[in-house]
Symmetry: C2
Subunit: 326 residues, 2 copies
Amino acid sequence: MSSSCEKEILKLRKQIDNKLEKLFTGRQPQSLYEPSSYILEGGGKRLRPLLLMLAYKTVKGNVTGVINAAVAVELLHNFTLVHDDIMDNSDKRRGRVTIHKKYNLSTAILTGDNLLAIAYKYLIKDCGNDANRIVDTFTNGVVEVCEGQSLDKDFETNNSVTLKQYFKMIEKKTAALLETSTSIGAQLANATEPEIKALTLFGRYLGIAFQIQDDLLDVFASEVDFGKFIGGDIVEGKKTFLLLSAVETARGKDLNKLKLLIKNKGVDKKLVNDYKEIYLRLGIIEKAKDEVKKYIGKALKQLEIFDEQKSLALVNLTNSLIDRNY
Amino acid sequence: MSSSCEKEILKLRKQIDNKLEKLFTGRQPQSLYEPSSYILEGGGKRLRPLLLMLAYKTVKGNVTGVINAAVAVELLHNFTLVHDDIMDNSDKRRGRVTIHKKYNLSTAILTGDNLLAIAYKYLIKDCGNDANRIVDTFTNGVVEVCEGQSLDKDFETNNSVTLKQYFKMIEKKTAALLETSTSIGAQLANATEPEIKALTLFGRYLGIAFQIQDDLLDVFASEVDFGKFIGGDIVEGKKTFLLLSAVETARGKDLNKLKLLIKNKGVDKKLVNDYKEIYLRLGIIEKAKDEVKKYIGKALKQLEIFDEQKSLALVNLTNSLIDRNY
């Protein structure tokens, strides 16, 4: 990443973190706001608020008057994390104990609910005269995330999920929120309709690339970088891009092994390497990398209608995302 | 209730039910929208949408262009029901199996989340140029409900809850949503600030009365009318108006018995009548009835600034609510 862009992104991230840090100061009841602060302190890349801010910059050339909307998409993201962790029965998130484990189920449900409500509270602060449309866009994002998570849960008991169904699921579960962020950034910047459309599609394609890369990282990242057990998706029998592509490609023994993994809803940790080898042998890793590149290309193509100088930071952020090691 | 008002309310309720009935027709995934329809089919009085509509009428003299906002407050209410039932581990709701029992925990969490999002979707349809303020009012309602539920959960492990804390809790948990409904009805009707304030306070006072009456009904309703086990709050050791008032009034043996109930977080079903007798002996029932009357009076007083003809249906609905048997 160019060092000026890097500095700019760090500065924006700092701005977001500062705002998030004080968001619930002094609010009562503590039983609700302490876990809310806890999840926000967990950090993360603040990808969604950055996308909102840099989409705005891509239109306007600067970043002003959108910090509350940026906070809103981060709160929305954290709402999904808290509730997803319950549904997936996860013990850890970003290396820290999840809310339903640290506190209890009720606290986690309420914390998520309240984060979503407060997201609207912040969103509305920056909307000006365009509240109807922006609230609608934001809400569509929430609905898609719920639908996507519902489809993902359906996958757990469906042994014949196709790649096509997978793409539909990740468009909703992962890409919708990135799309919502860039779309709202564009709308706040009073972009033209073609500009809004371009930045919306940019977010969607980026989101698809991001999820496939996440599937890849689960299997091939180094454990230290990724912060969680490598191969977890294989152990859990998750229907990822890798597994579903492998099923479509494999024949004979390999196919039987993959089908067994699906039938048994996962395998023992000791067998993770066997499945990694199948993925390598069948060229699934290259296929996934190509898919990531394809969608990143589609995303970046959408930015061509904008002034190169204005979109530079967004392009840089995009490229830095796919530079994650695997 | 006057028969013309009764007819009007039935007509509005039918309008709400018709809209709710078709709300999710054809929507996918089924795993999300089937439980959403299931909870809406459970019926109920549709009190919140009726309050919104009749608050609007109190200002405007008719009811038009608010059906989507009315649907929004009912969806918000149902979101709270689905999530509260998880937190309270309830098996039944309105005589039907609760969502987390009929389906599973994940489905119930997602159904609630999605109902809340779709509530915003409908709300925004009727907002016109006033979206910022109305969305903000609605969101304040959601936040208060979450804070109220959080306080209520805190009560479970707090053995020295005061009546003052109880009032703060029910203002948020119960009254906030009624207040949100009447306030939005007033705002949609382009009411003046004093009118909005009056209808907002009306909703709050009505909500407080409504909750105290609910506490009363739990102990003194007939089982058939109420649709659930009578005395459940005593069995669970819930910190209701009755219990907290009794603790403030009782001395000697009665006080010891009440403290035991709190300490043990409830009592055996067989002992419910003992506690009913304490309530009767200490005059707690009369006290609660007086409190309901007091808040209904405060609520109705707020309506005095409006044209009597226009507010008639809202007054009638209010009176019909406290005519519930106990």
